[in-house]
Amino acid sequence: AQSVAQPEDQVNVAEGNPLTVKCTYSVSGNPYLFWYVQYPNRGLQFLLKYITGDNLVKGSYGFEAEFNKSQTSFHLKKPSALVSDSALYFCAVRAPGGGSYIPTFGRGTSLIVHP
């Protein structure tokens, strides 16, 4: 079985400060990990993913995430937050290999960036 946890329902940060949105996972084997962002009344947008290779993954809008196998984490980070980054962020994990192509999503973390 695979699972993902986003321990914070909400993260508050001041504009210009660095931000971190946390994600931990549980899966058999090497995971496929994803981050998505959702703006109000919109569908989810893909930000970045880790499949293999460099543990630091760079994605859209200046976001990056670091895969940490020993801590089973894949935290989303940005060096300098913008008010426009305020949105709902989802982490997702999928076990490798064949079979169904169904990732498991976390419950989401609401990021609020204050001016």
């Binding site: 569908g43 989810l44 893909f46 989802f90 976390g106």
Partner: protein, 112 residues
Amino acid sequence: SQTIHQWPATLVQPVGSPLSLECTVEGTSNPNLYWYRQAAGRGLQLLFYSVGIGQISSEVPQNLSASRPQDRQFILSSKKLLLSDSGFYLCAWSHGAQETQYFGPGTRLLVL
């Protein structure tokens, strides 16, 4: 480039009425297709997924059904809506080898 469409964008329906939500994908072939429901702006609940025409897998038992009559068309239906069917319905597609899911704009359903 690939695009995914959902309609309608918003729907208000009385309890007991039927439902049909449509999702189409352009610019790709043989995608995996998914229906999710999102309640109260939070977590995603996977309802159905499909790996090919006529192949539907249901994740949760409920009064909803799905069909895939064409390669890039995915339909979510109900014969009789319940109040609990209200929510934000999202369609998504992926190519198995690439794994990333791409989501449509969603349909906001309110059952009264």
